[in-house]
Amino acid sequence: MRIGDLPPFVLPSPSQVVATAIEQAPLLGQHVATTATEAVLGLAMGTMLGWLLAVLTSAFPTSGQISQPVVLLSQTIPTVVLAPLMILWAGYGLTPKVTLVALTVFFPVLVAATAAIRDVDAEYSDTVAGLGGGKVHQLLLVRLPASVPGALAGLRIAATYAVGAAVVSEYLAGESGIGVFIQRSRKAYAVDQIFVGIALIAILSALMVAAIVALRRVATPWQINLVST
């Protein structure tokens, strides 16, 4: 398939992109593995961070009032600006990239988990307190489980950002990863390879979202019937 008179080195055909992907497959495996590792670890770390912060700020509202402006401000800073600082502080290894992914994904998890806790908190917390339960009981029996569906909903959104954030961090430093592959392809004017990289980002993101949807079914079994009815 050709669009207009654009030559293949400007806009390659899908068949050419597929052919390039097959040809580059042995090389791509390592790049995909690196990006997937950064995205998964960052996603896990960011989720834990966002989830914990949501639970803690609901249990101690004052801490929420203090942390909220800081958290909001942190989200105004683009990843690409933070990346050089991370590399300066944490080196060229996996750590700065995982940290960048975590910083990108924790916000949607925090927002969704906080909303989930707020929606159910009063009624159920009162029930537990009315039976003699203290703050710890309310945390373990109500806030923590109440936050799970929200955290997972936020995680599903976050998963779509995670691979992109990992790729951006690889642009700035790294020896392996889809970002590095795209950078090298750009320098070699191999547009077909750039398209292979873009397709890999999309496929990896879709796989992560699918994994989280599956995780949601396992982690919130009480919602399965609610969703289908």
Binding site: D126, T127, G133
Partner: protein
């Protein structure tokens, strides 16, 4: 006006002579005025209860009857230690406490309060967990009560899979498993249809009598036991008349005690319905 029926049974006589297990003296509760306060609010806020006094004696089932919005639920929340921190409380509330100094009451909310993420058995166990009842004692009792409450076979059901009546029974079961001497029931069957509601009232009467007998047995060997009682808040006069040893009628907001009546066990009807209805109309 506070009246007491003269023909009381022996239990009621005992109630009057013994020390109350729970008492409220001149309780006034005021909520702070919100911006753009509505009608009924004064400059000092919204007074929900006004100089209310109430006592519950050992083994007694007291129904607090009153129109909607008269402060019945607020009274129960105050007894259960669940009042909003912003509420201004005047007067005294004396509720029993357990050995560890915790409030010895178990509150059952208007809505069942079942946790959607816990199966039926796990929800029932919330009562025991929150109250600190050891699991090895609570679990066999829960299994026994599932049978007693007609919930056998539904131990692994999610709350949304249960009918309204089953959910309320489960909530009551959870409250019983807390093993607190004083039960505070806030219109526990308010959302149910009349037939289910009548059945649930029969359940509750049975539960109360069973708990009373168990408490009496336990008291033989435990002189330190503080006694047991039930406070039921309702706007259903039939429910109150069926279940309670004593009925306290509250006025419209701010709630005050306008009438009090004890059950007359040896007559056809336990209460003078006319007197209760006229007190409610005050």
């Amino acid at each position: 006006m506070t009246t007491t029926a003269s023909n009381t049974d022996r239990t009621s006589e005992a109630h009057r002579s013994s020390e109350p297990i729970l008492s409220v003296r001149d309780l006034t509760i005021t909520f702070p005025a919100s911006r753009g306060g509505r009608g009924g609010r004064q400059d000092g806020g919204l007074t929900v209860l006004d100089a209310l006094s109430l006592e519950v004696h050992d083994g007694e089932f007291v129904a607090v009857l009153g129109p909607s919005g008269c402060g019945k639920s607020t009274l129960l929340r105050a007894l259960g230690g669940l009042l909003d921190a912003r509420a201004r409380v005047e007067g005294t509330i004396a509720v029993p406490s357990d050995a560890s100094g915790r409030r010895a009451t178990a509150w059952m909310p208007q809505r069942d309060g079942l946790l959607p993420w816990r199966r039926a058995m796990a929800n029932a166990m919330v009562g025991a967990i929150a109250a600190g009842v050891p699991r090895d004692r609570a679990k066999p009792r829960a299994q026994h009560l599932f049978k007693e409450f007609g919930l056998t076979g539904f131990e692994r059901a999610w709350p949304h899979e249960l009918s309204g009546g089953m959910r309320q029974r489960l909530a009551l079961l959870r409250t019983c498993l807390a093993e607190r001497p004083v039960l505070l029931l806030d219109e526990p069957f308010g959302g149910l249809d009349p037939v289910t509601r009548r059945r649930m009232n029969a359940w509750l009467a049975t539960v109360h009598l069973t708990e009373k007998a168990a408490a009496a047995d336990a008291e033989v060997g435990d002189a330190s036991k503080s006694g047991s009682g039930v406070v039921l808040v309702t706007h259903d006069i039939d429910e109150a008349m069926t279940l309670a040893d004593r009925i306290v009628v509250l006025s419209d907001r701010p709630g005050r005690v306008v009438h009090e009546a004890r059950a007359q066990q040896r007559r056809g009807e336990r209460y003078d319905r006319g007197a209760l209805l006229s007190a409610l109309d005050c």
